[in-house]
Symmetry: C2
């Protein structure tokens, strides 16, 4: 897709689709943009409240940031804005003792946006887009599931009209606590839940049976959250008039805030220092989750995501969030899927959604005041529950025990130790398991499959072997991390087959031999020569041969030889 | 060697050689033990002074610790005792601000011994002997060279009778400083150097020409340090009587200290906490260096070193050092080589050396008082200079640029940042480079070598290819760390060969597919199916097939297939 593009297009991926943009594309994007905007309004308000911030920080984050992403990002359908996982990470940062003591959480949130954006841009400059490789899917799934559970835990009290409990593990306390629930709020929550499930589950099935056009079904079903909010707000207005007290969003200021430049100086001060590690984790997770989501939709349309450019797109979006008074942003899973399903062709859909959000902020703010928090909590609960991936975790457990353990440990880490500690634990686990795997390479003693030139593991296949030949295939590059293991394997095999005269190392899979491994091979060869055995090598690749040529290793090997094919080695030595 | 041994022998390797011990073995060991003891006396005193400790801490460390190692260690020739690299690490710990403020450096040294011993035992229990794999040779060489340079820098003032300079980068200051040298001390140092070089270089060559027996040559040449010390001490006694002032070792107490039990309680207090990170680094380096040295001599005699058991041997030795008033110990390179060259068969040689040291401590202490520090500095300089491995560093640079950079960065890290920071930097570099390597696996598009069933890289060999077949050999297990890279490679190749109908992934080197990689393969397969192409797999190994069988991956592949050999796949699909 980017084959014949200029470097300008590489830096501004928007140019790539703008030059071939058609009227039909616009019609599709307009529709998808409206649908996504309808979803964005309640999500923006809800995620800001989830983060412990005034609602407008979620709305502002839905305007300028997606516009910047549209210019710099490589995904055509990713919907950038407030997301639930980032929101709970922000909440975790804002409630940490040192940060809370500073006061002014809004300012802290803006600093988080600025810092996470700057970190992403720095990573882009250092070309660290590949870092996405160092959070494995199991760790990411474990983290997401854990964070989702935390969010669910934080939202359930809201649906009951309760404050966060302060009971620890005292069950009796919880019983008393729960008895303080507000029945009106509970009824409102149940009504909201019913309405949401009606729109997301029942109605689509019904409409499909009635053979309504898919685009229309999508449009109708995605209006659920907005309709829920509208109806709940009306209900609250009526109930408040009749004297009931229900927690509501409160006053949302109209229009835009001034560009917050003082956030720049605050980032360099004490607040900035305190928040930096939190911003690092938010940047990492926002980036990794966004790329994962972007890839899902890109794969379905054979489009390509360029990880490093994503860092630029998301970094710009977060800096825009900071300057325009918004909370940190990322690509949202449910919103992106809605955008995609509604037929979005390009980021034009997101530009349209941003324009609609701007209109909403300018003219509709007074309507947001009476939105009940309980309805928003229900919307969050419905959106977040699918992120607890019990089924995936079970699958992983069955398929790969190590991955399964990493997944569950990360999940428990998030729940027990906290969000940041959970991710850190997951990353350390990933690196440790990677090191462990590379230090225990697969090695096989092989023999010839009869009547072929094909050599396979003697343990798995019926193969020919020779009494004085030991053929060993090493399935990994030789490095300091695994050469000891390989040496031990060889010594053990030689003890088992003391009549061996020639050892043939099959280097099909050896792409590199580092200094430590070369020294070990040399000393191994010395030992073998003293014992009257020869060390031979077959099927070594070009780059490996080139590298060894720079040393006197082949001289040292003699009478051991280097063979092009294993077959040649066997024919000559058997 | 340990094939039919009981678990008791595994835990007490001394039993392995004791049961077949012969009179001739004892004769050899007695000779080697005497030679090593002759070397140990000046080394013990010198390394204690290098560490900033009273001389007896080096002597005590040469008695009980090697005895414990003899019982629990697996090397038959390793000489455990005070070593130069550990000594400079101890000096670094003792002069760090917080530790220096506590006072009583002797107590701190004992705590370091106890803690590093305890850390080694803990590592043994956790079966972390494989940790030796995570310090690559280049990092170790860089570290050793850097530490050796630091030691050289610290000893040169001693040979001139000067104190450590405090000039920073003020060259004029150094000029004034150097003018304060003591000419008598300098003459003494030059004399000592001449004597040492005579014994270590000139005399052996001469005696060899005279066809003297090798054992006798070894014996004579290794007496150099002791003779130097004796002559220098006599010279000092004469000079002191004539009014000259020369820095000497000072009073060394006779006999043994009481078992220091209070070191146990000190380790649990503030001193213990402060020293713990230093002890960690000392344990790590002592262990890694000792195993490296032990392996050199073991390889020459086809003996086997068991890393985990080495942790027990060295851990016990260090705890013995702490309780008997000695500084931390490790296997010394030069001493082990001397012991080996002098014909040591078993650790009996070290038991004899320990006995001789005990006799020296009991009866010869008064003789040590007048040993000039300058002579000891010269002995250290001669012993340490070969550890600055300029030639090795150049070799590594030529052979493997990445390893060369790691080596030089570690060396500079030690010199500029400090000992502990240097190692930490080296280890991080090692892990990062390992992760980088595994995330960029070798992948090749292959074709058939004409008239064989052998498939090789199309870039390196003249091979047959087919227009609608794309054969790709992946030379590494598929993991989260490299699957993105592999995916990109495939997409790029498919763009280059748009007519491809069947992709055949050759899994010869794939020993594992983790969860992340499996998900990526599944989504890749979906994309290919949409494009009307099939994904096939050939030469997958048993364990990989077993694992995939647990999923519905093969169902998803259809009409793509799994082939036993690449040849089968090509015959059917061509």
């Amino acid at each position: 897709m980017f084959d014949n593009t200029s470097s300008l297009t590489r830096f501004l991926p928007i140019l790539d689709w703008l030059k071939t943009y058609h009227r039909q594309d616009f019609a599709d994007d307009l529709f998808a943009g409206i649908i996504t905007a309808i979803l964005l309004v309640p999500q923006g308000i809800a995620y800001a409240i989830l983060a412990g911030l005034p609602p407008q920080l979620g709305l502002y984050a839905s305007i300028l940031p997606p516009i910047l992403y549209a210019f710099f990002g490589t995904s055509r359908t990713l919907s950038v804005g407030p997301v639930s996982i980032a929101a709970i990470m922000i909440a975790s940062a804002l409630t940490s003792t040192a940060v809370a003591e500073l006061g002014n959480p809004v300012q802290s949130a803006l600093v988080l946006s600025l810092e996470s954006g700057a970190i992403m841009l720095l990573m882009a400059v250092l070309r660290m887009g590949g870092l996405v490789n160092f959070i494995s899917h199991p760790v990411l799934t474990g983290f997401t599931s854990g964070a989702a559970l935390l969010i669910i835990g934080s939202q359930i009290p809201q649906t009951l009209g309760l404050k966060t409990p302060a009971c620890g593990i005292d069950i009796a306390c919880y019983m008393t606590y729960l008895q303080g629930f507000n029945s009106t709020t509970l009824l409102l929550s149940i009504g909201a839940l019913a309405l949401l499930l009606l729109f997301s589950q029942l109605l689509p099935t019904l409409l499909k049976k009635m053979r309504v056009k898919l685009a229309i079904i999508t449009a109708i079903s995605k209006c659920g959250p907005l309709l829920t909010v509208v109806l709940a707000t009306i209900a609250v207005s009526l109930l408040t008039n009749s004297g009931q007290s229900i927690a509501v969003v409160g006053v949302v200021p109209s229009g835009f805030p001034e560009l917050s430049i003082n956030v720049l100086t605050e980032s360099l001060g004490q607040r900035g220092q305190l928040l930096l590690p939190y911003a690092g984790f938010i940047a990492l997770i926002a980036y990794v989750e966004s790329v994962a989501i972007a890839k899902v939709t890109a794969n379905l349309r054979s489009e390509k995501i360029i990880p490093n450019q994503e860092l630029i797109g998301l970094g710009m979006a977060n800096i825009a969030a900071a300057l325009s008074g918004g909370m940190p942003v990322a690509g949202g899973f449910s919103r992106t899927m809605v955008n995609f399903a509604a037929g979005a062709r390009t980021q034009m859909a997101m530009l349209i959604a941003a324009a609609l959000l701007a209109i909403a902020v300018m003219f509709c703010s007074p309507w947001f005041t009476n939105i009940p928090k309980s309805a928003l909590a229900v919307i969050i609960l419905v959106a977040i529950t699918p992120l607890v991936k019990i089924k995936d975790i079970l699958h992983t457990w069955v398929y790969d025990r190590g991955d399964g353990i990493a997944e569950i440990v990360t999940l428990l880490g998030v729940l027990v130790l906290g969000i940041e500690e959970g991710i850190a634990l997951g990353i350390m686990l990933t690196i440790a398991s990677n090191l462990r795997k590379t230090s225990h390479p697969h090695i096989a003693v092989v023999g010839r499959v009869p009547e072929t030139e094909h050599y396979r593991n003697i343990k798995r296949h019926h193969v020919e072997t020779w009494n004085h030949l030991l053929l060993i295939r090493i399935d990994e590059s030789l490095t300091f991390a695994n050469i000891n293991y390989i040496e031990e394997f060889l010594v053990t095999e030689l003890k088992r087959q003391p009549n061996t005269k020639h050892i043939i190392l099959i280097f099909t899979s050896v792409s590199d031999i580092d200094t430590t491994a070369l020294e070990a091979l040399e000393s191994l060869n010395q030992g073998l020569q003293i014992a009257g055995k020869t060390l031979n090598i077959s099927e070594a690749k070009g780059p490996v041969l080139d590298k060894l040529q720079k040393t006197d290793f082949f001289e040292q090997l003699k009478p051991g030889q280097v063979f092009f094919r294993t077959e040649d080695a066997v024919k000559q030595l058997e």
